[in-house]
Amino acid sequence: MLRNLVRLCNPTSYAVLKRQEGQARRSHFLGNIKAYSTAASERRKFYQDVSIAQGEDGLFEINLDRKKLKTPGGKLFTVPNEAMAIAVATEWDAQKDTLKFYSMHLTTLCNTALDNPTHRDNDQIIRGALKFLETDTVCYRVEDPPEMVELQKNEWDPVLDWIEKRYNVAIGSSYNILGPQIPNKTKDTFRQHLGSYNFWALTGLEFVITQLKSVVLAFGLIDRHLTVEQAVLLSRLEEEYQIQRWGNVEWAHDYDMYELRARTAAGALFVHLSSESSTVKRKLLQD
């Protein structure tokens, strides 16, 4: 059995990795921390066929040729539903000659959720995620130049209004470097709301928040108020303004934008797929 398992030791990375915490544990099954921490490295493709299989416990596994995929931590790679399994399998299937782990965002997120390299529980993730609220991108406004002030007001205010109404909370925005004073009640509301998420969904949500640097935009995306493109645009508003003014540089601006879009989309998809319970409701046929 064990021989059949593929363990991807070196290059696969985790979505959110705190190095100091993870290192001690990782070193005992890896021996080579350096190889592990480089998400940018590639590896030769060693399989042809990618397929999925459902295990006895109902979880889905990924098979590369006839071997089972494992996480970097050595666990069997399992995902909760078929949609996720197919999306991950497609990532593996899409690799050409070398495995580009930095482009396999869903696999990375699954690895993070399975291995939990930072050893955190739900409460700690929620606390970590909500810390971003204090320094939320959409809450910090500039006073100058006037066009930028106008732009932030027009683009960010509607989302802020939306979230305040949707969750019945007060957030507000600020021109001060210290940011707005977020009432404790707001944080409690969000904490309570996030309490209903499972560990996988929280892992994905935290990833989205850290990508967009905004709790407000992340909620907008997860609650399907915004599309990925809209959320990324709003998150990069200042950069977009600079591009409009000074011109676009493909190897920096577009490169960053597509990467951010891919990561954000993966995170949102991860949350949606891991929190959904698929039910098929058929229409009753009436004669």
């Binding site: 990618v50 397929s51 999925i52 078929e82 949609a83 197919i86 999306a87 399998a89 497609t90 299937d93 899409a94 580009k100 482009s103 965002h105 869903l106 399907r224 108020h225 915004l226 599309t227 990925v228 493109e229 809209q230 493909e250 190897w251 577009d254 490169y255 597509y258 990467e259 879009r261 891919a262 989309a265 993966a266 949102a268 998809l269 949606h272 797929l273 959904e276 098929v280 409701k281």
Partner: protein, 110 residues
Amino acid sequence: MAALTTPLRVCRGILKEIRAVKGQEYKQTLAYNYVLDQFRKNQVSSERYCRAQEEALHTSHSYLCLLTSTRLHLALHKVYHGKGERKPEEVAGLVGLRLPTQPGGKGWEK
């Protein structure tokens, strides 16, 4: 509600992306069949408002965005960052400078 394109466009977009990575045999992939199946299942005829369908559409839209952005990102990565680090000579060349070729300047004194 977020502005979404029609399900048909998203569906075709996803299939196009699968084709872009898999080439001609894209119809044999897991994803191709699954995506088509899901879109067929979620077709609604006369319902007034269907929350599940809206959700499925948003999710599929995210997936399309993931596939497209990953492809474009990799393309840019290949062009601009795929060759690893540049050599000092190349870096100097980028800003129109040349490295000294004759030893004897600063750093060579005995």
